[in-house]
Structure formats: C-alpha cells, structure tokens
C-alpha cells in the first residue's frame, strides 16, 4: 500500500498522465465461457482480473502484458469453439454421425 501511495504521489508530482487501461477481455472471456470452452473462458476471466488489478496498482507495463495474455487465451478459446463446430459439420456430412447429434441436445 505504501508503495502504491508513493508511486501515485510521484506520478502526480511529475504531472505524468497514466496510460488508459488496456483491454481486459472480460466480456469476450464471459462469452467464451458461456458459448463454448469453459477452461479457456475461466483462464480469460482470471487474466482480466490481473489486468485490472495491475492497472489499479499502477503497474501499467504489467497490465499491458496481462492484457495480451488475456487476449491470447480468449482467442484460443474462440478458435477452438469454431473448430469444434466445423468438425461437427464435417463429421455429419461425411460419416452421417446423426446418432451423436440426436443423442442429447445439451
């Protein structure tokens, strides 16, 4: 806390304008969690928390790194979701795997 206090006061004394908070990918991570891939979405939400925690404590470089990490995991989740849908469509098209589709609709 003391470190944060001094950091903030130091910034004020130097009249430095802090950079705006980097994108934390929270909403995208929530969408990934709800719509496709739970583990990647949860990792995304944890990274989103990292971005905002680091930014709030004045660690702007750390926030920027966490932002990139959050974006990476969210995008991985998104593309895996797309890949799963494409595989489903291909499986049904080539193998007629309707039994798999019909079995349950969750």
């Amino acid at each position: 806390m003391i470190a944060i206090y001094f950091k903030k006061n130091f910034m004020d004394s130097q009249n430095l304008i802090p950079p705006s908070q980097p994108k934390n990918w929270l909403v995208e991570s929530i969408l990934v969690t709800i719509l496709c891939c739970l583990p990647f979405g949860i990792v995304g939400i944890i990274n989103a928390a990292q971005v905002s925690t680091k930014y709030a404590s004045g660690d702007y470089a750390g926030a920027e790194r966490a932002s990139q990490e959050a974006g990476k995991w969210t995008k991985i989740g998104f593309w895996i979701g797309i890949a799963v849908v494409v595989l489903y469509v291909l499986a049904v098209f080539f193998f007629g795997a309707t039994a798999f589709w019909m079995s349950s609709r969750y």
Binding site: Q21, L38, I45, A49, T53, M102, S104, R105
Partner: protein, 134 residues
C-alpha cells in the same frame, strides 16, 4: 485483419446466428450439436442450455431462457452494451458509454466466483440445482 473488417464480419455473423437460432428451436429440431463436454462427461458446464436460452430470448421468453441458462440472461445486458460500445467506437471513433464495471476488480472476481458456483450447483440434486440445470 483490420479492425473495421473484424467489426463487419462479427456483425454479419451475429445477424446470421441470431436468424438461425430464431428460426430453429434447438430443443426440438435435433439438428443442433450437443455440447461435447456434456456428451462425454454427462455434466453440465456453465454454458449448457445456452443454445435453447438464445432461442427463447429471441422469442421474448426471458423467464424460460433464465431457466435454461441463468448466467447468460444475467450477463446479457452487459454483453449488449459492451458490443454497442465497441461498434460505436469503430463507427464514430469515440466512446458511447464508459463501462466501469468491466474494469472493476471486485466485479471480475465476483463473475469468476459466480461462474464456478453456478457450474457446481447446477450439477447437484438440490432444489437450486434442479432450477439451475438446463
């Protein structure tokens, strides 16, 4: 890929998906893929029921949608405002609204906690579990 191209593709995709889920009922048609996670484990993840919830929402049945997937309905306002803001930023080059909630550390941890609790409780046999299950 430029930002503009991404926004256009996303919007087109959203309209396509909305139309698809408005037209077909995932609970009745049997043409929609089931969640692989549920298929192999038999468990409900926080996303289970979101396809049927989406169909119900597009037909205005909010309570039915909440019964299929509560967190989707709870977070829908945030998702819609966020998307509108992103679209506005691209088109007008400025903010539409300042969504402080998205950057609020307490809110993010609350979200994480809510998703984990939701995932656990909807797999239990309790009254709450039966309500939260899709």
């Amino acid at each position: 890929m430029s930002a503009g191209f991404r926004v256009i593709i996303t919007t087109a995709l959203l309209f396509g998906v909305a139309l698809l889920y408005w037209w077909y009922d995932p609970a009745a048609s049997g043409r929609f893929p089931s969640c692989p996670f549920h298929h192999f484990t038999g468990l409900f993840c926080p996303g289970c029921g979101s396809q049927r919830a989406l169909h119900s929402l597009l037909h205005g049945h909010i309570l039915k949608a909440a019964d299929y997937n509560l967190v989707l309905v709870l977070y829908l306002p945030l998702i819609l405002i966020y998307y509108a803001d992103q679209l506005f930023r691209f088109l007008m080059h400025r903010k539409l609204v300042n969504i402080g909630l998205v950057n609020n550390v307490a809110f993010i941890y609350l979200t994480l906690f809510l998703f984990i609790i939701f995932a656990v409780v909807r797999n239990t046999d309790s009254a709450a579990g039966i309500f939260l299950a899709p």
